[in-house]
């Protein structure tokens, strides 16, 4: 069995704003094993991006991690100081963002940036760093990497830039990559290319990958495991086939049902009524109860994680145990 690369237990990240405390992430637990892909799925306001930032220690004021453990290969990241975190970042844990220009400096050449990244963690010569950079570019499928190394970011198209960002993430062969909506802004054909590369890489290199997205279809094709987030909490986890074929949580159920391809053509889509609640005043109880058709008085209390079957966790008092068509 593969060991756990990442084990998150009861993580909470709160933002202390003028308007109140925003519980962006509220007591979530999940784990990722070596060589496996976890899809972290949620809509806007679900806390999925904040989770990604919390893992890598990039939460800015007025937010901070208020509770929980992040065990990365056994070490608790929440207990480490900034220096130790910096050693890990880019080295053993890497992050890819939705906008590649977050990673890339527009006024520096690609080789400058990549060599700098290599030399930040490894004491190697410039030529050696350059060779590694070139190999990384080749690994992500950029044609003629030697020439492209001397280019600037604006000379690449959007899809290419994202590949460069992925190459930078791969320079040190990290054990864990956190990808925050990297293909959301890209065209379908380019997205397919990047997904193909990423699939290849996780197989070859054995990196654990957390893919954060709102697009269930991408997760269906890419991920091994899935965790569904809603209002800062993880409501359901399990293997992708299991969860998508037999969703237990009413929110997951509703989310899958509202996808157009799951509805007969021309009919009204099954929709989840209402809107995501404001994270400022969630109150007690299940965050989904205001929109849930199965809510009852029991839902006024906070549901805890349960294990209805092997390999599944669920936070709900009224799971849907029927099989969806």
């Amino acid at each position: 069995m593969s060991e756990l690369t990442l084990d998150v237990q009861g993580l909470s990240t709160h933002f202390f704003t003028r308007a109140g405390v925003v519980k962006a992430v509220d007591g979530i637990s999940f784990s990722v094993s070596r060589g496996r892909v976890l899809g972290l799925v949620g809509e806007s306001g679900s806390g999925k991006s904040v989770t990604g930032f919390s893992l890598i220690g990039l939460v800015d004021a007025p937010g901070r991690i208020t509770a929980g453990k992040i065990l990365f290969q056994g070490r608790d990241l929440t207990k480490l100081d900034e220096r130790a975190l910096r050693d890990l970042r880019g080295n053993r844990i890497a992050m890819i963002f939705q906008d590649p220009m977050i990673t890339l400096n527009p006024v520096l050449r690609i080789d400058t940036q990549m060599i700098e990244t290599v030399q930040a963690h490894d004491n190697v010569s410039r030529e050696e760093a350059r060779t590694r950079s070139r190999d990384a570019l080749g690994m992500v499928g950029i044609p003629s990497p030697d020439e492209r190394l001397t280019s600037y970011p604006h000379q690449f198209s959007g899809g290419m830039r994202q590949r460069v960002a992925i190459a930078i993430a791969l320079l040190h062969r990290p054990d864990l990559i956190i990808a925050d909506e990297p293909t959301t802004a890209l065209d379908v054909t380019i997205q397919a290319q990047i997904l193909a590369e990423v699939q290849k890489l996780t197989r070859e290199v054995g990196t654990a990958l957390i893919w954060i997205t709102h697009d269930l279809s991408v997760i269906a094709g890419l991920a091994d495991d899935i965790a569904v987030m809603y209002a800062g909490r993880i409501v359901e986890t399990g293997q992708v086939e299991e969860v998508l074929d037999r969703p237990l949580h009413p929110y997951t159920h509703g989310l899958i049902g509202s996808v157009p391809s799951r509805n007969a053509r021309g009919t009204r889509l099954r929709q989840i009524p209402g809107m995501t609640p404001s994270l400022l005043n969630l109150g007690e109880g299940c965050a989904f109860r205001t929109r849930c058709a199965r809510a009852s008085a029991a839902c006024e209390r906070d549901p805890q994680d349960t294990h209805p079957m092997a390999g599944r966790t669920l936070r709900c008092f009224h799971p849907q145990l029927e099989v969806t068509t």
């Binding site: 054909t189 397919a192 094709g221 157009p260």
Partner: protein
């Protein structure tokens, strides 16, 4: 000419079917839109100098839309699909009348819009409204939403001062919003609510035709379902015609009667929705359908179509798709294929059909 579209209106529960025999609302013939920097005198001199010295001058003018023919009939939903740089948004704006075409003719209800006087132009513009992609940018942040929705009908005298409040309230309710919040500003609403405000604004001038430019792309899946249902409801209630522009094939398949696929400014395939998803003809359409992630396929192997989307300023010669086409032939590089019928109601621009 297109033959009868399979009438599945009854089966899918939609309102007036029989779209094929309806009169065209908008007809585009040979529409093109050029864009690029027009150089001033100094730059032109510099370019002339460079050419004289034997250097090459990069092209600065491209075609966002290249000689497009499109007809939308009353009551139908035409889906326009393509990726970035294909010109679908530009085409949508030309249909809505907010961007004049560089070449070609736009016919509104059978008449050339260039023959319209000021009053007729105004009437035509009001009948064709647009829903925009970005719910944050498409509402004026300094206007109350009541004003946003009610300004145009008031300015165009569709309603008088007595009926104003009731009218605005009715627009809000029709779009699924509570009129109690009409004195608020856009930043106090969520993305989905803002999109509804945009819809209310469009409906307030009593249009017949809605151009939806990626109207649900920026919304969460659950809100997207609500807005799409709203579109379908409005279609039935108000007998609206839609041009639905999107890159999301799943949404387009669900909503549209007919679908047109665009690539680099040209329409490469056009067919009834069921037909195009069941029997795609053009290699680009086939690639798009193969590459779209679907929730039903699990742990698939993503085999990507190679190459980048070319820039519209320097498009490939002949068939613009040939550098990425797995079945490109020699003729594809030289000659652009024409959009010809391959099945009833189904047109495709590919040399493979001629072989």
């Amino acid at each position: 000419m297109s033959a009868t579209v399979p009438d599945n209106a009854a089966a899918s529960g939609r309102g007036s079917g029989g779209a094929a025999s309806a009169a065209p609302v908008i007809e585009l013939r040979g529409i093109s839109k050029r864009f690029g920097t027009t150089l001033d005198a100094a730059a032109r001199m510099a370019q002339g100098l460079k050419r004289a010295m034997g250097g090459t001058v990069p092209a600065t003018v491209g075609r966002a839309v290249d000689c497009v023919d499109l007809t939308v009939r009353r009551g139908e939903v035409v889906g326009l699909v393509g990726e970035s740089g294909c010109g679908k948004s530009t085409l949508g704006r030309m249909v809505a009348g907010i961007m004049p075409p560089s070449d070609g003719t736009v016919l509104f209800e059978g008449r050339d819009i260039r023959t319209f006087n000021a009053e007729a132009t105004r009437q035509a513009k009001l009948k064709v409204q647009m829903i925009f992609q970005d719910p944050y940018a498409s509402l004026n942040p300094r206007m109350r939403v009541e004003e946003i929705v009610g300004e145009a009908p008031r300015v165009h005298r569709l309603i008088g001062p007595e009926g104003y409040d009731a009218y605005v309230d009715a627009q809000f309710r029709r779009a699924g919003l509570d009129p109690a919040y009409k004195r608020r500003y856009p930043h106090q609403f969520s993305g989905g609510q803002r999109q509804r405000i945009g819809i209310a604004r469009a409906l307030a001038v009593q249009p017949e035709f809605l151009v939806c430019d990626e109207a649900v792309a920026a919304l969460d899946v659950s809100i997207q379902a609500q807005i799409l249902n709203l579109f379908m409801d409005l279609r039935e209630q108000l007998d609206l015609t839609y041009l639905f522009i999107s890159h999301d094939l799943g949404v387009v398949e669900h909503l549209s009667d007919r679908v047109a696929i665009m690539y680099l400014g040209r329409i490469v395939e056009e067919a009834p929705a069921e037909e195009i998803f069941a029997r795609p003809n053009h290699p680009y359409t086939q690639a798009l359908l193969a590459e779209v992630p679907r929730i039903d396929t699990r742990k698939r192997q993503f085999t990507a179509i190679k190459g980048e989307i070319p820039s519209p300023i320097n498009p490939p010669s002949g068939c613009q798709f040939h550098p990425r086409c797995p079945e490109a032939m020699a003729v594809c590089r030289e000659q652009a294929p024409a959009l010809v019928g391959v099945a009833p109601g189904h047109r495709s621009a590919c040399h493979l059909n001629g072989v």
